[in-house]
């Protein structure tokens, strides 16, 4: 139980730290300057009908390098609520080096591992990066992918 408590606190601290990162990133007027290079795919994964997965490639047109982190990834529904989900800045499955006890907590691996596994990536101005996000589907459909203070539109499902 103590381990869980500490892990929870650690996650909170990381999130708090993330605010600083975002504040140093492009300002409010930078919203919508992440663009899809082509419409992303949104589909229902076979065997998980209550979930939706989005996969696509984003391009950084903010005018600055941006750092994207999975703990800042939020899927916002049309009614404004946030959906329970997960994401990676990759297009295919991968995993890290797990020692005794299994994987490290999110965003606790080395920066190298965080980057290669798509947990935390720096996208240079004009560069592209894949992103894959899954969320629990609710009555109000997903509308927006929020990445800190940046956003991307989520299109309606392109696959049944």
């Amino acid at each position: 139980m103590r381990r869980r408590t500490v892990a929870g606190i650690a996650a909170a601290v990381v999130a708090a730290g993330a605010v600083g990162v975002v504040a140093a990133a492009p300002g409010d007027d930078a919203s919508d300057r992440l663009e899809w290079t082509s419409p992303p795919l949104v589909f229902t994964p076979p065997g998980a009908e209550d979930a939706r997965i989005l996969t696509g490639e984003l391009r950084n047109d903010t005018g600055e390098d941006v750092e994207l982190r999975v703990d800042q990834l939020v899927v916002r529904a049309a009614d404004g609520t946030e959906q329970d989900g997960n994401g990676r800045f990759v297009q295919a499955f991968g995993h890290g080096l797990y020692g005794p006890g299994g994987p490290p907590a999110p965003l606790m691996a080395s920066r190298f591992d965080q980057a290669r596994l798509g947990e935390r990536v720096t996208v240079k101005q004009g560069a592209t990066r894949p992103v894959t996000v899954a969320w629990r589907h609710k009555a109000s459909p997903a509308k927006q992918l929020v990445l800190g203070q940046l956003t991307l539109d989520v299109p309606a499902a392109t696959q049944p």
Partner: protein, 530 residues
């Protein structure tokens, strides 16, 4: 108060941007290289200088196991050897053994109490390093040299001066003297990583022992040229039963592995023969009741045959996922004449995962298996990012999800960002003359689907595979599979298939046991019930 101090220390470390250091959260292997120079799989020696290790009850145990007239001669021999016993602990004999000696281990239970008394990860032995380059925090060889038992119960270190060459304890033969491996039981303390670690120990031969309860690996052979692991049992280790890493000229033979939280056997970072031979042979292994029967990140140059990988969560995995493993991307192994069946044991149920979370390995019941890696439950072969492998004449049946999964892994995931590396995996794999969805007697035992492929790569092909419905009648997605030599033109991955697996990367046994969108941990229905 203690909790407050711990939390403050944690906050301080995080705010400073320091690593959340500790062996529990990173791969503990140091950067290694493949051994060089000629070597052979060591041959069995039944003569030559030796030390004898025994327990107080070894004589009694010998008399019990060699009862009766027909065993009298053998018993007499064993008792004569027992008279030469001068050691109660295996590590004591290892430390004193010169090269080319044998260590004969009499029946008994070996807990290696002197090794247990050595502090785990004692800072006086050296500092665990994490250069942040993907290797994770590790103990270097000098650490083991200084403190052989700080992270191991038994350490066979062959390199006395850390110059990378074996110069002591080379060609060491360690042999249990019971009738079966479990007569010589070596029990881990559930804290130290390895029960037996052979490191730069060229010619290492281990035979006839049972290892159990390692916090990481039951048997671990690292940077060793020439090794033989034979007549072994390895059980209920937190991660791996029997493992080799950047080692060459090896043989795994007659090994039983079960109850391991990762894989029963793991020939990882296998030798780089690039399809000009095999450096490690694996035969007559029976690996069951693990999360994975077999796994090998960068499991190159390995010939696996006449073995059984049944009744795990998944049977056989080879991959190119991780950085820090020499030999990427994986290539050129062969599986032939194996049985890969009924890999439907689900160690990822909510009940199991919840009971594993929040408890350390030391705190858990001794025979509890807690998954250390995420796998698609119900799978036979799971091949992710592998090249030019040959899978032929195997029996692959009754895996409820899929018999064979073949997926691409872009190079960026192992930390290689060049354009060419993004397409350098999942090419040239040949699946030939396997019997799928049927038992040895020909009766039907379908896989959920015989082949599930992300459609990426070039030169992947299927020919002559047999099913109850006939030759080349595999059930597959895509519905049509290329015959050999396969499509020479590189094909892109099916983006939906690739993306559908990404949510499973968020699996974490403590913080996210069932990621949204990941379907791997739900037991697929038996195909007959569909």
């Amino acid at each position: 108060m203690t909790r407050i101090i711990v939390v403050l220390a944690l906050l301080s470390a995080l705010v400073c941007g320091a690593l959340f250091a500790g062996a529990a959260t990173a791969h503990p292997e140091r950067p290694t290289g493949f051994p060089t120079g000629e070597a052979e799989v060591p041959k069995y020696r039944n003569s030559g200088p030796s030390f004898v290790v025994c327990k107080r009850d070894s004589g009694t145990l010998l008399k019990k196991m060699y009862k009766g007239k027909k065993n009298a001669r053998l018993l007499k021999k064993r008792l004569a050897i027992l008279k030469r016993c001068k050691f109660r602990h295996i590590q004591s004999a290892v430390q004193r053994a010169p090269s080319d000696w044998r260590i004969l281990i009499m029946p008994g239970v070996y807990r290696e109490e002197p090794s247990r008394k050595v502090k785990h990860n004692d800072p006086a032995c050296g500092v665990l390093k994490d250069p942040g380059d993907g290797h994770g925090a590790y103990a270097d060889y000098a650490f083991h040299l200084k403190c052989p038992t700080s992270r191991n119960l038994i350490f066979v270190g062959g390199d006395s001066d850390d110059d990378g060459k074996c110069d002591v304890r080379c060609n060491l033969q360690m042999q249990g003297m019971g009738r079966k491996p479990s007569d010589v039981m070596i029990v881990g303390d559930r804290l130290k990583e390895d029960v037996i670690r052979a490191d730069r120990a060229d010619g290492f031969y281990l035979k006839g022992v049972h290892t159990d309860q390692a916090a990481f690996n039951g048997v671990d052979v690292v940077e060793t040229n020439g090794f033989r692991l034979e007549d072994l049992v390895s059980t209920y280790n937190q991660n791996y039963g029997v493992l080799s890493f950047t080692s060459d000229n090896g043989l795994y033979q007659d090994i039983e592995a079960f109850g391991n939280g990762d894989s029963g056997i793991y020939p990882g970072s296998g030798p780089e023969y690039h399809c000009n031979g095999y450096g490690i042979e694996i035969r007559r292994v029976n690996s069951y009741g693990n999360v994975l029967g077999y796994s090998g990140t960068a499991g190159n140059g390995t010939f696996v045959h006449d073995s059984k990988f049944n009744r795990n969560s998944a049977g056989i995995s080879d991959d190119s996922f991780a950085s820090g493993h020499p030999g990427m991307p994986q290539d050129c192994s062969k599986w032939e004449g194996n049985e890969v069946a009924s890999n439907n044991v689900n160690f990822f149920t909510p009940e199991i995962q919840q009971s594993c979370a929040g408890t350390t390995f030391q705190e858990r019941p001794r025979e509890k298996v807690c998954p250390q890696f995420q796998v698609p439950v119900g799978s036979g072969f799971i091949l992710y990012g592998v090249n030019r492998n040959l899978i032929q004449d195997n029996l692959i049946y009754d895996n409820h999800r899929s018999g064979i999964r073949l997926f691409w892994v872009p190079g960026a995931i192992r930390g290689e960002n060049g354009a060419a590396a993004q397409l350098d995996t999942s090419n040239g794999n040949v699946f030939r003359a396997n019997r799928m969805g049927m038992r040895a007697d020909g009766s039907a035992a379908p896989n959920g689907i015989d082949v599930f492929w992300d459609e990426q790569g070039s030169g992947n092909c299927w020919e002559g595979n047999i099913t109850p419905a006939g030759v080349n009648a595999l059930t597959s997605d895509p519905a049509s599979l290329p015959t050999c030599p396969g499509n020479p033109v590189q094909q892109p991955a099916n983006a939906l298939k690739s993306a559908a697996e990404v949510p499973c990367a968020s699996w974490n046994p403590e913080t996210n046991q069932n990621p949204v969108g990941c379907t791997w941990f739900t037991s697929p229905p038996a195909p007959a019930a569909k």
